[in-house]
């Protein structure tokens, strides 16, 4: 790897010292051309000389999320510049998304194994979405959850013997359709009466014998959502 210039933006002196040490010992190619503790210091440095990489802390002094804005401005002005965001916000997932939208090449959480030589090398080689291990773990946990939910939906269809009409019926119930209205749908070739039967049948399938008493349409739909048979984020009515 060729030598490159770095600016570190970090408001905490102790942390700055730690980061400097890591760079010096693990990434000898990096030449730290300046460090800034605040936004105005940083822009002043930028006027003096343009770095190849900016290691940017998200919170500076009283402005706890100013890094997002700095990142966005940098990306607008210097499209090729590498930006690696450094953050202690290990619980604030919303901010991570904001940072990536603002154009950062990667996020290094200030926890676990912190900054590694690999991370810097990858960014310098032009890779986007560079994350350290704790970050990846968290992303993976989220991802697993979503996949599991999708699988649960498939399982529920099999387990409770849900066919496309059941799904359509439940989905439209959730959208507030009456049975008469559902019976009038093009893809529902059933009478109101047989829909009523279907509802009873669904209740019997989705609820155990003990739970069945007093189950109305609302409870049925809620159960269907809980079992991932219908997806509340994807409730769209069929064409009439």
């Amino acid at each position: 790897m060729e030598n490159f210039k770095v600016i570190i933006v970090e408001d905490d002196k102790l942390e700055l010292k730690g980061t400097q040490q890591i760079l010096q010992t693990e990434v000898p190619e990096a030449e730290i051309i300046g460090t800034a503790q605040g936004e105005s210091d940083f822009w002043k440095l930028m006027r003096d000389g343009q770095p190849d990489l900016v290691l940017l802390d998200l919170g500076l002094g009283g402005s706890t999320t100013v890094g997002v804005d700095i990142c966005r401005q940098l990306r607008t002005r210097y499209a090729d510049m590498k930006i690696l965001v450094f953050t202690g916000e290990i619980l604030n997932e919303r901010l991570w998304v904001e940072v990536l939208s603002a154009g950062a090449d990667g996020i290094i959480l200030k926890t676990g194994n912190l900054l590694q030589r690999d991370d810097v090398v990858q960014v310098m080689h032009g890779r986007h979405l560079v994350f350290n291990e704790p970050f990846l773990e968290k992303v993976m946990a989220r991802f697993r959850k979503i996949v599991c939910r999708e699988q649960a939906a498939v399982d529920a269809f099999v387990e409770y013997e849900i066919d496309e009409y059941d799904e359509r019926f439940l989905r439209h119930l959730a959208l507030g359709y009456t049975k008469d209205m559902i019976a009038g749908l093009r893809q529902m070739p059933f009478s109101t009466k047989s829909l009523e039967k279907r509802q009873v049948d669904l209740t019997n399938r989705l609820f155990s014998e003990r739970e069945r008493s007093g189950v109305n349409a609302v409870r049925l739909v809620v159960r269907a959502i809980q079992l991932h048979i219908i997806d509340p984020e994807n409730l769209v009515a069929d064409e009439q």
Partner: protein, 1155 residues
């Protein structure tokens, strides 16, 4: 003179010319005279003489009858009432002499009066009256001796009747009778009856006038009786007079009056009784009274009158009692009871007399502290009162019957009179009708100024006032609630700020961990890493110090909101979860309770709710969760039991003993782990109660559980005893009305437990509170309980008052059901005369009906409609405001029915006036309801924030306590000078690593517990005009502000708090201005003067800062950042040419943020 009276004269003459020899007749007459004369001097001698007379007059039925009468009198004096009645019956069977029969009847009355047989008393009285009429019509033909005998009978008749009425409480009738007696009393001809008459007047209750006049008059009567009886040796009257005088002298007021106005007689009496004064330790007044009573007792004993001896002993006892000599009093009363019990086997009893003795004994025992005997005598006393009441009812019924019989004759006359009156009135009425129709019209016209209307108007005014007051009050309550919620919000922001400081340690910790790991790597030089770790630890310690400082500052200021409240308030809210439980096939049992506790109400609700929620989470379908209360005098234990999966013994131990634990590790792995932080929070709350005051030492928290069987989580709060609450409640809850029944129960319970002063107080309030209609049995019971309490406390005046009231009401209160049979008798007696009444009445009705049909009907009909309308109008006004909802319609109907426009107008005006008033009331009511709703919502919000803050308090303090020492420990272990030591071990830095990792684990755990409380943003983002903020700054702090028309998105309250914080740390000479830049508004605070050093500038908003205010400001900006969904808001401090400035940015309003 009619034939009957002629026959009567012949009978008297024949009676005089009987076959016995004249000498014997003379002797018999003398013996009878002697018996009569001696009856108040020496009963035995009198009896002897009477027996002699009876023996001498064999064959002369009249003389025999007189002898028998005299014998009967002696029997009466000796309380042998059955014998007396037997002798009197013998008189009736033996003699036809009306005079003797009259005497026998009068004596029967006297006996019946004493034994309380009112009905027989009236029978005899009726007979005596009839006889008296017959004898009086022949009075002129009586001999001198017969006339004397008649006068005797007359005086006796009236005096006995007077006595009877006096005891019945009919004082007027009693006075009337004694006045009648006065006509026949003559000192010369019959001294005994004169004495009897004056004694009666002197003995009390029959003289009218002011208390002073009565005392003097009675004293005069008694003293004349005493002196005369003494001279003539009438021991009976002498003793009676002394007894009454004794009672009079014992009364300090009356005694003083007598000494002032009747000093001679008083001294005379005093001197005469010096030798009777045995007890010289008594105050002189009581000594004197006791002497009189002693004398009376001795005279009665000589005279051999059991009844009066007992009475005199009672008087003596009462004198001792009043003097406080309870032992002596007891001795007297017991002698009286002893005398009374001697005679108790007799078939006839003198109940009030016996009752009196028992009452005296009850009081005396009470004064001596023997509660058992006092109660026993009081019960006997009440039983006897009950008996005598029943007798008296018979009396009064009889009197009623008699009155009706007499009334019927009058009724007949009245009926005739009525016929005439009705006819006359009908005519008058007819003429009046016309006049009244006109006056009705007049009144409808003036309805607006009528009294009913004025009153209704006042009530309307009152309504308007009340509704306005309610609105005012609800507004005030709302403002108070707003203030309180503001405080909680500010406190919440402070908590969030502190939590952010807590969070600032975590990156340091992660750095330390990374550095420690590097120590293990080969070829690394340990020294720079160790020194960096040292620096990081110092940094953490620095932050910890700041945090400690701020938490301590806060703790001094905050405390729990401890109030006393009924647990049912909290449990009611919990029981509203029934539905959610039933959805999971779980049963939730919440008990009813009246227990009161002293605690923080929102926190108590939070605790019960947390425990119930946990129980629900860990109980499978079909199970049961129940709230169980257990109370001792000191605390109430609230337990939440479930039939759930339970906990292992290790988990139970962890929950009970450790302050910090990982909730995720508790529970059985296969069923479900994770208790959440609820239990830890509950324990924290109990801990803060204990820190508050020693009153809360009873507070505790605990868990009992068995795997597979269920758990019980419980906590204890100090109990407030309900009775105490009852007493304090007028102060605490002024609005809560107590009913008399509750107070009666409290009275009864208090008496039962010997808390007499409480009982007396309760009964007083209950009696005061009793409203119409009075519940007489309850009132009697209340007075009885009050008397018992007063007796036990030795408050004798209060006792006498309560007891008198109890006895009086007791007599009034009657539940006898046998009245019907008496009525039947009455009806039968009067049925015949009623036929006549009915005929007359029918005739009257028929003629009235004719009058009505022919003449009156038309005129009435004309007027009726007007009358009816006016009535409706007034009733509408009178029933206002109950009919407020329908008033308008009702008045409209009246207006429609009034045919004449000049009558309609005033009512129309009235209608408009009231409609307007009511509209005002409705408006105010609606506004008040809205405000109350708002207050309610804010109260909910406040409680939520309050609980959150309280828990954050606990969490922060736990973080402080549990993690404080770690940084210094790590620093110590990472000391480079000790590093070679560490290298000797096989894994040199493993202990350091495990310490740091453990620290991070605990720290993160506690942080997350606290973090969970602040998930929700506390902000209400709305458009805020910057000039408003500036106005606040200049008004509150006198800050100079540049004009601006910018407006921003933000939370007004928090922004004001921001300014508060800022002006707490910068001088007041600053200038505020606003600048717009790229969709942001920068609010700039220029601080003139000194510029800040670079370190100061960079640390200003970091956890290392000197002042918490800077961090609160940072937190507020951060909250805005999160709430607006637009990261990048600034808060910076920088130096300027003339000093430094603090600037912060907010989103400009009317710029749409696109993502």
């Amino acid at each position: 003179m009619n034939i009957r009276s002629i026959l009567f004269s012949i009978l008297l003459v024949l009676a005089a010319c009987t076959s016995v020899s004249e000498r014997d007749a003379m002797l018999a007459e003398e013996a009878n005279d002697l018996a009569y004369q001696l009856r108040y001097t020496d009963v035995s001698a009198s009896l002897q003489a009477a027996k002699e007379a009876y023996a001498l007059s064999s064959g002369d039925s009249d003389a025999q009858a007189e002898a028998l009468n005299n014998m009967a009198y002696v029997a009466y004096q000796q309380m042998r009432y059955d014998q007396a009645l037997h002798l009197l019956r013998k008189v009736h069977s033996l003699s036809r002499n009306q005079l003797e029969l009259l005497c026998a009847d009068v004596l029967t009355m006297k006996v019946m009066q004493r034994i309380g047989h009112g009905k027989s008393f009236f029978d005899s009285r009726l007979r005596a009256q009839k006889r008296l009429q017959r004898i009086l019509s022949e009075e002129s033909s009586l001999t001198q001796r017969q006339r004397l005998r008649l006068h005797y009978a007359m005086t006796e008749f009236h005096i006995v009747a007077s006595t009877y009425y006096y005891y019945l409480g009919q004082d007027d009738a009693a006075r009337q009778e004694i006045d009648e007696a006065a006509r026949y009393v003559n000192l010369e001809t019959d001294t005994t009856q004169w004495l009897y008459y004056h004694y009666m007047l002197g003995s009390g209750g029959l003289v009218e006038g002011t208390p002073e006049e009565v005392t003097i008059a009675e004293f005069d009567h008694l003293i004349s009786v005493y002196t005369l009886a003494r001279v003539r040796h009438f021991a009976y009257f002498e003793a009676n007079a002394l007894q009454s005088l004794s009672a009079m002298v014992a009364d300090s007021l009356r005694a003083t009056l007598l000494k002032q106005q009747r000093l001679d007689a008083y001294s005379y009496l005093y001197e005469h009784h010096k030798r009777w004064q045995s007890d010289h330790e008594l105050p002189s007044r009581y000594q004197f009274a006791a002497a009189l009573s002693h004398h009376a007792v001795s005279l009665f004993r000589q005279y051999n009158d059991l009844f009066q001896t007992a009475c005199a002993l009672r008087t003596l006892g009462e004198v001792y009692f009043a003097a406080g000599r309870y032992d002596e009093a007891l001795r007297s009363f017991r002698s009286a009871l002893h005398l009374a019990s001697d005679y108790r086997r007799s078939p006839y009893q003198v109940i009030p007399w016996l009752a009196g003795i028992h009452e005296n004994l009850s009081l005396t025992y009470s004064a001596l502290g023997d509660k058992t005997l006092a109660d026993s005598h009081r019960n006997t006393y009440l039983d006897l009162l009950d008996q005598s009441r029943q007798n008296r009812e018979l009396d009064s019924r009889k009197a009623l019957l008699k009155q009706e019989a007499r009334g019927e004759q009058i009724q007949f006359l009245l009926l005739l009179l009525l016929v005439v009156v009705v006819v006359v009135l009908s005519v008058l009425y007819y003429r009046q009708l016309g006049h009244r129709s006109r006056s009705f019209e007049q009144r409808v016209r003036k309805i607006g100024s009528s009294e009913d209307c004025q009153q209704a108007r006042q009530r309307l005014q009152q309504l308007v006032l009340e509704s306005e007051e309610r609105l005012e009050e609800s507004k005030e309550a709302c403002e108070v609630m707003q203030q309180r919620i503001l405080q909680q919000q500010q406190r919440h922001i402070l908590q969030r700020t502190k939590l952010s400081v807590v969070y600032a340690i975590i990156p340091y910790l992660d750095r330390v961990i990374a550095e420690v790991r590097k120590l293990d790597e080969k070829g690394e030089n340990a020294a720079p890493h160790l020194s960096y770790i040292q620096e990081l630890c110092s940094g953490m310690m620095n932050i910890n110090d700041r945090l400690t400082e701020w938490i301590q500052v806060q703790q001094g200021r905050l405390s729990l909101q401890v109030t006393r409240f009924p647990l049912s308030d909290v449990l009611h809210v919990i029981s509203m979860q029934q539905y959610a439980f039933s959805q999971q096939q779980l049963t939730l049992e919440v008990p009813e309770t009246t227990l009161q506790v002293k605690a923080d109400k929102p926190l108590t609700l939070f605790m019960v709710n947390t425990l119930v929620d946990n129980a629900r989470k860990f109980t499978p379908a079909g199970g049961k969760v129940s709230v169980v209360l257990d109370a001792t005098d000191d605390y109430v234990e609230v337990g939440v039991c479930d039939t759930g999966i339970g906990l292992s013994p290790e988990d139970v131990q962890t929950l009970n003993d450790s302050k910090v634990y990982d909730p995720q590790r508790l529970g059985t792995p296969d069923v479900g782990k994770g208790f959440g932080f609820g239990i830890m929070n509950c324990k924290g709350i109990i801990g803060s109660y204990k820190k508050l005051s020693s009153r809360f030492n009873v507070c505790d928290f605990g868990v009992e559980s068995q795997l597979g069987k269920g758990s019980r989580f419980w906590f204890r709060l100090p109990r407030v005893l309900s009775l105490l609450f009852l007493l304090l409640s007028p102060l605490v809850h002024a609005s809560r009305p107590l009913n008399c029944g509750e107070l009666y129960d409290s009275t009864f319970t208090a008496n039962l437990h010997g808390r007499y002063a409480d009982a007396y107080r309760y009964s007083e309030s209950a009696i005061r509170m009793m409203e119409e209609p009075v519940d007489t049995p309850m009132l009697v019971s209340l007075y009885n309980e009050q008397a018992i309490a007063a007796q036990a406390l030795g408050w004798w005046d209060a006792y006498r008052k309560s007891n008198a009231e109890c006895v009086r009401l007791h007599r009034l209160y009657s539940t006898d059901g046998s009245l019907a049979s008496d009525c039947q008798r009455l009806e039968k007696m009067t049925a015949d005369s009623r036929v006549l009444y009915v005929l007359i009445v029918l005739l009257l009705i028929a003629s009235l009906a004719l009058f009505y049909m022919v003449v009156l009907r038309h005129r009435l009909r004309h007027r009726a409609s007007l009358d009816d309308l006016y009535q409706r109008l007034t009733s509408v006004l009178q029933s206002f405001p109950e009919n407020a909802a329908t008033l308008d319609d009702e008045l409209q109907t009246v207006i429609r029915s009034l045919s004449q426009p000049q009558l309609q107008q005033p009512v129309q005006r009235l209608r408009q006036e009231f409609s307007a008033g009511l509209a005002k009331v409705r408006e105010a009511e609606t506004a008040a309801e809205d405000t109350e709703d708002k207050t309610q919502r804010w109260r909910f919000e406040h409680d939520r924030l309050y609980v959150m803050n309280q828990i954050l308090d606990n969490s922060l303090s736990t973080i402080k306590h549990e993690t404080m020492y770690f940084p210094s420990r790590i620093k110590q272990m990472a000391d480079p000078s000790k590093a070679p030591l560490a290298e000797e071990t096989s894994s040199p830095n493993s202990s350091l690593l495990s310490l740091v990792t453990y620290y991070r684990h605990i720290y993160m755990l506690l942080y997350e517990q606290a973090q969970r409380q602040i998930d929700q943003s506390p902000l209400r983002v709305q458009a805020i005009s910057v000039s408003d903020l500036f106005a606040y700054a200049s008004q509150s702090y006198g800050i100079e502000c540049r004009q601006t028309d910018a407006s921003v998105k933000g939370d007004g309250m928090l922004l004001r708090l921001f300014l508060d914080q800022m002006f707490a740390v910068v001088p007041k000479s600053v200038t505020l201005s606003a600048e717009q830049h790229e969709g942001m508004i920068y609010i700039i605070c220029d601080v003139p003067g000194q510029r800040l050093k670079p370190e100061e500038l960079s640390d200003l908003f970091s956890p290392q800062t000197e002042r918490l205010e800077y961090l609160v400001m940072r937190q507020i900006v951060r909250e805005h950042d999160a709430a607006c969904g637009h990261p990048g808001l600034r808060l910076v401090a920088e130096n300027t040419e003339h000093g430094y400035r603090i600037a912060f940015s907010l989103l400009q309003r009317n710029i749409v943020i696109s993502k």
